[in-house]
């Protein structure tokens, strides 16, 4: 008793030498190509294309669904981030430029503020009163006599 597979292979075994010849011919051709590629001076562009092709095929292409998903997530994050931007900043961008009166008032206020700060600084710089140490007992006597 034989399986159908056994019968089929036995029936076509005679074709094996011809198939061997075909195989040898193609492998020889591949060998020649490899030899040619090895002897050819390395071209940077070809090397770069080869590497990017390999990267594409091994990293991106097999997991293209994951990459697409990641890209979609990034787009969503970007859109969300854009929609959540500070409205004050946007308003400031949208508002018209300030009028000359406003600028004048603003500079007046700045001047006043500068003056006040300068005044504070001069007060702060005034030297502290000198402290003259006295003996403790003398201090006590003065207090008692008072």
């Amino acid at each position: 008793m034989k399986t159908p597979g056994d019968i089929l292979f036995a029936r076509h075994q005679a074709a094996a030498p011809k198939l061997d010849a075909i195989r040898r011919e193609i492998v020889q051709e591949l060998n020649n190509q490899e030899t040619k590629e090895q002897s050819r001076p390395h071209n940077f562009v070809a090397w770069f294309l080869c590497c990017s092709n390999k990267l594409w095929l091994e990293l991106v292409w097999p997991c293209r669904r994951i990459w697409t998903g990641l890209a979609a997530v990034w787009i969503l994050i970007f859109v969300f981030n854009f929609s959540q931007r500070d409205p004050a900043e946007l308003m400031a961008r949208k508002s018209p430029p300030p009028s000359p009166e406003m600028i004048l008032t603003f500079s007046e206020q700045q001047r006043l503020l500068a003056e006040l700060t300068r005044l504070n600084e001069t007060q702060a710089v005034e030297p502290p009163k000198r402290f003259m140490p006295q003996p403790r007992s003398e201090g006590r006597i003065e207090a008692l006599t008072a």
Partner: protein
């Protein structure tokens, strides 16, 4: 005589072939040359055409190995190329679509293993005769089943048909063959 159909990824140097190593291609071609030839010959019934197709399949495989996504599916990928070549030939010959008469689906009816159909020596010629009488779609899936013992999902991928269709084609083809063989006894 039957070719090993399991643990391909452990044994076959597909990765080296991807790197363009001719010795790796030699091993791969040696492994698949006869199963491919058997599959193609039993569909086209011409020796020279079958040899030409096998050669074209090998050349296409060496050129487009980058398109193979899973290395452990090298066998079914190669048979897929062969199947496409055969379909192209049928289209050229007949000038029309070939895949064709559908049999009703019965996915639950498929219970047979690959080697459940055993043939006695005196029935071999009859078996071949019956195989050649089968409609092409049934013959195609049955050959993939007999020659490489591919899982049904891979046969569906190779022939670009639904899994249910593959199951019913194999089921009906084997049933028919068994019936005819029993009648001849």
């Amino acid at each position: 005589m039957k070719m090993p159909a399991v643990a391909e990824s452990e044994q076959l140097p597909v990765q080296q072939a991807r790197e363009g190593k001719p010795e790796a291609w030699d091993i791969l071609f040696r492994r698949y040359q006869l199963p491919l030839y058997v599959y193609v010959f039993e569909l086209v019934r011409n020796e020279q055409t079958s040899l030409d197709i096998v050669q074209e399949v090998f050349i296409a495989a060496a050129r487009h190995i980058g398109g193979l996504r899973e290395s452990d599916k090298f066998g079914s990928w190669l048979f897929g190329i062969a199947h496409q070549k055969v379909i192209q030939l049928w289209r050229k010959r007949d000038g029309k679509e070939v895949l064709f008469d559908e049999v009703p689906e019965s996915p639950d009816a498929f219970e047979d293993g690959p080697d459940d159909l055993l043939i006695r020596r005196e029935q071999e010629a009859e078996f071949m005769n019956l195989l050649n009488q089968l409609p092409l779609p049934q013959r195609s899936v049955l050959l993939l089943h007999f020659v490489e013992d591919f899982p049904l999902e891979e046969i569906a991928r190779i022939t670009e048909t639904q899994l249910g269709t593959v199951k019913s084609r194999i089921h009906y083809a084997k049933k028919l063959m068994r019936k005819l063989l029993e009648e001849k006894e």
